[in-house]
């Protein structure tokens, strides 16, 4: 058994259609269009039990089956807004093997009766978008896209759409608003995109990695694909490992391998002489785990069982040379900046969390501030249209809970470092800071 998504990944020219075809590319699309019905494709996708690779982990085949049948404009949006801190797997897939994604998209469109497809790629990925544009153009010229694809009577159009820098546009309904030319604010659900999505039409939204798996699922057969990984986390997964490791990079693993083997075996572990203090298992919005949790199998359910999540599959490793207060503050600042401002708990909660963590950092806090941080985080979670606020609250409160002694020690030492300021001065300065912030 060979690797799937990263098969031949570093072969020069793989991004061009000639090389991709020479390696067997588009043969699954040909077979699907000539031999199978859309329902048969859907059945294979459901049998594979592949779960979405973007973060939420919803079964892809099931999602595709939610689209209503019938003759109308239906849409596929490939979510290529990869913005979760620590995640860079989709970038690699689009840069090096764009046709694998495009083939998967066309097969998915056929399965769900979709005629209009878009790739929403984050604006910062300029080179990758250029590569995709060129690849889409090649696919049109070869007749894999457009009208009456390969004489099958199937029509699929595909447009590469570039965003302009907003983390929130990775949230699926914010992505739809952005693609309609609006500010990227999330929508109230229901209605769900399967019923009323892009331009109010039925819409399927999938991550780059999920769609890149489709041609492999069809080649192997859904049941065979489901043999990979664990029972509830099937297949392989691209893991982006970064932070305090010797060999950061993208690794393709079989879901369910011990996390330790990814972090130490593949990524080389932390630099010599350092120990792992904490790690984010699924991007910076995942609650952190500790060194005691390194033997957990790396799959959706094990991560959820440990109170965290697999998320986008981005492991960020923090070693013992790093202050957890710095990590919490940097994490919170990111989500504060990226909050779209629509829902009060997220807009205000992220902002106040940053202010409180800054006080901790500056030696102006007391341990009571830690309780307030936890309380603010509790009040964000589950109270907004989307989970951006949760994405800050979950990791920050996990850090405060799991590393409370370090936070308290930092509060003590940072206060001591400010001495000989007396309490009155501290209070004044605190007030001045508050005023300055408004």
């Amino acid at each position: 058994m060979d690797d799937l998504l990263f098969h031949n990944i570093d072969e020069p020219g793989l991004a061009t259609i000639d090389t991709y075809e020479a390696r067997g590319g588009y043969s699954e699309l040909r077979r699907v269009l000539s031999d199978l019905t859309p329902d048969e494709v859907l059945t294979e996708l459901q049998a594979s039990a592949i779960r979405g690779r973007g973060g939420a982990g919803f079964p892809m085949g099931t999602k595709a089956s939610f689209l209503p049948k019938g003759d109308m404009d239906k849409y596929l949006c490939c979510n290529a807004d990869e913005s979760e801190p620590g995640t860079f797997k989709d970038r690699e897939l689009m840069q090096k093997n764009p046709h694998q994604l495009i083939e998967g998209m066309i097969i998915s469109c056929f399965a769900a009766g979709i005629n209009k497809a878009f790739i929403y790629i984050r604006g910062e990925y300029e080179q990758q978008a250029d590569i995709l544009d060129a690849a889409v153009n090649e696919a049109y010229i070869k007749g894999y896209l457009g009208e009456n694809i390969l004489g099958s009577g199937v029509n699929v159009s595909l447009v590469v759409h570039r965003g302009a820098g907003a983390y929130i546009c990775g949230e699926e309904t914010a992505l739809l608003d952005s693609l309609e030319g609006k500010r990227g604010n999330p929508r109230l659900k229901p209605p769900f995109p399967a019923n009323a999505g892009l331009f109010q039409g039925p819409t399927l939204i999938n991550n780059v990695e999920t769609l890149s798996n489709v041609s492999h699922i069809m080649r192997m057969g859904g049941a065979k694909y489901a043999d990979l990984g664990t029972e509830k986390s099937t297949g392989t997964k691209l893991v982006s490992v970064s932070g305090c490791v010797q060999k950061p990079g993208n690794y393709e693993i079989e879901l369910g391998v011990p996390s330790r083997e990814i972090i130490y075996g593949l990524a080389g572990g932390p630099p010599a002489g350092r120990q792992i203090k904490a790690w984010f298992p699924g991007g910076s919005s995942a609650p952190v785990l500790t060194a005691d949790e390194l033997d957990l199998p790396y799959d959706f359910d094990s991560m959820a069982g440990a109170g965290s999540m697999l998320g986008s599959g981005a492991i960020i490793v923090i070693d013992d040379s790093i202050s957890i207060v710095d990590v919490a503050l940097r994490t919170a600042k990111f989500y504060k900046h990226e909050s779209c401002g629509k829902c009060t708990p997220c807009r205000e909660g992220t902002s106040w969390t940053v202010k409180m963590l800054q006080r901790v950092e500056d030696g102006l806090a007391t341990p009571m501030d830690l309780d307030i941080i936890e309380s603010v985080c509790d009040q964000i979670m589950g109270n907004c249209l989307c989970v951006l606020g949760d994405a800050m609250a979950m990791p920050v409160s996990s850090m405060v809970k799991k590393f409370r002694p370090e936070f308290e020690a930092h509060i003590e030492s940072a206060r001591a470092a400010r001495m000989p300021l007396d309490e009155a001065t501290l209070t004044d300065e605190l007030d001045l800071k508050e005023m300055a912030a408004h």
Binding site: S83, G86, D90, E124, G165, G181, S240, G243, E254, V317
Partner: protein, 213 residues
């Protein structure tokens, strides 16, 4: 409000093509882009970006040009532009450095690199130097495998040392390629791959690790 009602109500606020001097290539580009979507408004973000690339920033003139071709009010376009980090509503530089300062880059020394960039460019975060280099810290650019990293006009470079920061700015000023040895596009995937052969447990770490560069 329906699109028709909106058009009637705000007709006066839409600049007329006859009054706005739109560069021909921009007009063509916008018209082609609008035709790619079921609703032309979907083209707003790409068209604003095209205008920004042409003008260096989203000046009032640039916004008016897009508005005139798209038949939309400048107010609508600006309301969209202000939401997104990559739109510059004030004069910007001709070269742009986004320095990533998010977690993965921070863990590998991004703050020191940013300080050196500020020193070398001669501005603080968000500033434009006299010779037109725009520097700002940016959050997770999606290249943590080369952390700490920066994007120079869309070209990703890393991992950056403090010395690289000096060289990066020198390369920009010299007008040539920026840190050619550190460009992401020239880098292979960092790893060897999964060599499964079956279920969990069949995974051999030593084999996989041995092939990793």
């Amino acid at each position: 409000m329906s699109e028709h009602q909106e058009a009637m109500r705000f007709e006066d606020a839409i600049p007329q093509l006859a009054d706005v001097d739109v560069p021909a290539e921009l007009k063509d580009w916008i018209e082609q882009r609008m035709a790619m979507y079921p609703d032309r408004k979907s083209a707003i973000i790409p068209c604003l970006m095209a205008a920004q690339k042409l003008h260096g920033w989203l000046s009032p003139e640039a916004v008016d040009q897009v508005a005139a071709v798209m038949r939309l009010t400048p107010a609508r376009l600006v309301s969209v532009a202000t939401f997104y980090d990559m739109f510059e509503l004030e004069p910007s530089g001709r070269r742009t450095i986004y320095m990533c300062t998010n977690i993965s880059c921070m863990l590998r020394g991004a703050d020191a690199v940013m300080q050196e960039l500020e020193r070398a460019v001669g501005v603080t975060n968000g500033g434009v130097s006299d010779d037109g280099i725009f520097l700002r810290s940016f959050e997770c650019l999606g290249a943590c495998d080369i952390a700490p990293m920066a994007s120079v006009d869309g070209q990703f470079v890393g991992p950056l040392t403090v010395d690289d920061a000096k060289q990066l700015v020198a390369d920009i000023r010299a007008g040539g390629e920026v840190l050619p040895a550190k460009q992401l596009s020239k880098r292979p995937v960092a790893v060897t791959l999964w060599e499964g052969g079956g279920k969990v447990g069949a995974y051999d770490v030593s084999d996989s690790a041995s092939g990793a560069a």
